[in-house]
């Protein structure tokens, strides 16, 4: 379990994280979403005691990270930035970390095997690809067989096989009753990995809900309908409260009506349908919509004052 309470981090005049509170529960994968620069890494670094919060506090398993007796045996962390001396071999990197936690050297070989780096364990880390570097970081994270995993952008640089592997690793950890907190700016990856989402933009909380609910409440549901008699159908559907827009290719996009209801109405009127397809916005769309006003490095400057940026965005898209 991870608890963040009113976490705030300021760098001079710039607020990186503002009054952020959330709880990450065990037994499920919790995704930490936000555009680049939203404050995800800063938040994770505060959870791990690397950055000192300007105010507020963070607890893991009930303690400040620095109070954990052998921290890597409770919390495994993968940071976004590399955290390996490039002149040291993978095995020696893990060995010196294991020694600080009183872990036996054979645990190093176990995690090397687990992440698939056994064959290159003696090679210096400077020759590692991005993906190998990520695997080494994950090996360090699971070294102490921790109860809590905190992973910052773990799929960065991984090949498709690696992406599936890390996804399964996280899901098995969660299934075993452990806590998994994983950040990403890739919505679609989170849609298939995370059970729960904490979404932030510009250091503020935007959403804290299940992945399903997040998609549900933040995307428009529409139904694509084709009919040889589009004009009459439009009239019928509009009469029932549907919002109909005609596309160039003759298809109709209908909002506010379920596909089944549209079919029934068409049948009642004796109208022929050539297509009846429910469409739902992707998580990507939902995310773009929600964070549109909170993108830190957006192409068009977000004009909303910082204090109001996040909340209205959420309301508009309901």
């Amino acid at each position: 379990m991870i608890e963040a309470k009113n976490l705030t981090k300021r760098y001079g005049a710039k607020v990186a994280v503002h009054d952020l509170s959330f709880t990450v529960e065990p037994g499920r994968v919790t995704g930490f979403l936000g555009p680049n620069g939203a404050g995800k890494s800063t938040t994770m670094r505060m959870l791990l005691g690397l950055d000192r919060p300007t105010s507020g506090e963070a607890r893991i398993a009930g303690h400040h990270y620095s109070r954990l007796p052998a921290p890597m045996r409770t919390v495994g962390a993968l940071l976004e930035a590399r955290a390996v001396h490039t002149g040291r071999s993978a095995r020696n990197h893990l060995l010196c970390l294991a020694q600080t936690q009183g872990l036996p050297a054979k645990r190093v070989d176990e995690v090397l095997e687990l992440v698939g780096l056994t064959d290159v364990a003696g090679r210096r880390a400077q020759g590692f690809s991005l993906g190998m570097g990520q695997r080494l970081g994950i090996a360090a994270a699971v070294l102490g067989d921790p109860e809590v995993l905190i992973l910052d952008e773990p799929v960065n640089g991984l090949d498709p096989e690696g992406v599936v592997w890390i996804r399964q690793l996280m899901q098995r950890f969660a299934a075993g009753g452990r806590t998994v907190f994983v950040s990403s700016h890739l919505m679609n990856e989170m849609a298939v990995t995370a059970d729960h989402l904490i979404v932030i933009g510009r250091g503020r909380l935007i959403a804290d809900c299940s992945t399903e609910e997040f998609i549900e409440r933040s995307t428009d549901k529409t139904v694509v309908v084709r009919s040889p008699d589009a004009e009459r159908l439009t009239g019928v559907l509009s009469g029932e409260g549907g919002k109909v827009t005609a596309a160039d290719d003759g298809a109709l996009s209908v909002a506010n009506l379920e596909a089944a209801r549209i079919g029934e109405l068409a049948a009642a009127e004796g109208l022929v349908l050539h297509e009846l397809t429910p469409r739902r916005g992707s998580l990507e769309d939902a995310f773009m919509e929600l964070t549109r006003d909170t993108v830190e490095y957006g192409t068009s400057a977000a004009a909303a004052p910082a204090g109001q940026a996040a909340v209205p965005a959420k309301e508009e898209t309901r």
Binding site: P26, L48, G49, L50, D51, R52, A61, G62, Y65, S66, L68, P69, A70, P71, M72, R73, T74, A77, L79, A81, R82, A83, V84, H85, T86, G87, R88, S89, N92, L95, C96, L97, Q99, T100, Q101, G102, E113, L114, G116, L117, D119, G131, M132, R135, A140, V142, G144, D145, P146, E147, E161, G162, W165, Q168, L169, R172, F173, A175, G176, R178
Partner: protein
Amino acid sequence: MTAAPADAAPPSVPGAGARRPGFGALLLAEWTKIRTVQSTLWSLVLLVLLHLGFTGLLAAVFAAQWDSMNEGDRAMIGEDPAGFFLGAGLSYSQLTVCVLGVLLIASEYSTGMIRSSLLAVPTRLPMLWAKAVVFAALVLVLGVVVSFGSFFLGSAILGDRLPVGLGDPGVLRAVFGGGLYLAMLGLFSLAIGAIVRHTAGAITGVIAFVLVLSPLASLLPGSLGDYVHGYLPSVAGMAITAAVPSDDAVLSPWAGYGVFALWTAALLAAAAYLLKRRDA
């Protein structure tokens, strides 16, 4: 590259079986860190080569020139041959200790390793102390060995003209002092590396202290210059490598070493304070 399936071992109870590992575990970890990067090996090899090389070179030059040297010069070396042998080597070999001391911590910042180190030891200071102890011990042992080497090499080359033995007053202290000086210099450099956190900047800082400040201070007029010069870290520290303190020495050997230790302690304290306070 194939990976074994993700292991789903049963979750461990919070903190179960996890006692805080003692300082010994951190010493072992820091020893692993220092022995597993190549810069350590190269720096230490260079330390030995420079130390013995320059002692040998200067001794050989003086031996060759001996007959054509004037009395004043002969007397200057003759006063303290042991100090001359040690000083000849140390003046150059000390630079490798400066560089290695800085690298030990600054390279953790430049590579990002510091984040792993601090995740492992979030109370932070024990990590710094363990690093300091391991490094100082390593340099002390090697420094004493190489000082003995330098002494014997020098006396083998110049011994017939400048007879000197380990039993002569102050000589043994000076030879051990060579190791003590290097060990303290290592800590001094480590502290500056920890404060500055950038390799190039920190090395420049240490070299400035060791090489640049001392000639500058000697330019100050009168006795003020002598005092400032005498209390500079490397000048004060080097006093311990003189078997026979020269007449113009401001501090006695042990007092000088004490002053150097105070400089180092102050810098280590600043490094500790900043390490605890700053974001990593």
